[in-house]
Symmetry: C2
Subunit: 167 residues, 2 copies
Amino acid sequence: MNPLTTEQQEVLMGAAFEQARIAETTGEVPIGAIIELDGEIIGRGHNLRETSQDATDHAEILAIKQACQAVGSWRLERARLFVTLEPCPMCAGAIINSRIAEVYFGAADPKAGAVGSLLNLLTDTRFNHQPAVFPQVMEPQAKALLQDFFRTIRAKQKQLKKTQSNG
Amino acid sequence: MNPLTTEQQEVLMGAAFEQARIAETTGEVPIGAIIELDGEIIGRGHNLRETSQDATDHAEILAIKQACQAVGSWRLERARLFVTLEPCPMCAGAIINSRIAEVYFGAADPKAGAVGSLLNLLTDTRFNHQPAVFPQVMEPQAKALLQDFFRTIRAKQKQLKKTQSNG
């Protein structure tokens, strides 16, 4: 795999951010992912859990499913995944299963992160695949996206409480 | 949750075996899963990876997706999952994400098992959910199902080689 320049990384992470913003507009926690292969984006996904009420509808899973369909193979061996938040165990497991070559993520997830925060499934050589991992790509923007979302949610809840106690 | 009798466990694991056999008839590695809620099977899945060429199409993921759709919720809080083989990291992660209450599995998976073999994601209290885990349910049959499958594959490969070297 040829190494990506910082600019190339930011363009691709930018596409993951676009996905996160789509999630946000539908009231979902803003998390987005894309998969790149040979210079093309072949899979896109954004967190869809509340809309679909499907526990597996994380951004990464949806992007991986789309990428598999695009190439007609469960092996995404030369592909790169870009995701705005550190993958959870399910998504890290899906990355192993699909043999993705490189994983770039934005913000760390201290509550459920399985790529360095709580454990690191992607560097565990007992599994049959270890992608290269690039953390902290556009980290400040990735953190701000989530912080702003939760700040807005809390403000709305506070306003609602105030309205209810005045009612 | 009321504890299940051995007989009840075997009936439900039997339904997971049925799923595994469906996988086998299509040339897939025979792995099957079902999800039970309030005495009813609300999700079924069998390994479909080669047929669909989708890296996420493991038996458990497909059963969880079907169960979420059946109840209209990503929370499967009083549900039980039965699967013929120990879940991999992706599927163990999906079990955490869907808040399944109890997990019963047949054979251990020394190569990719994330519920006791290589690590145990389901007893890790740093994640926000820990289901009760019941390993070794109908283990001899679960092991035999896989061993027979791989023995047949090897025999076919040997026969093919022999035919080719005689050709």
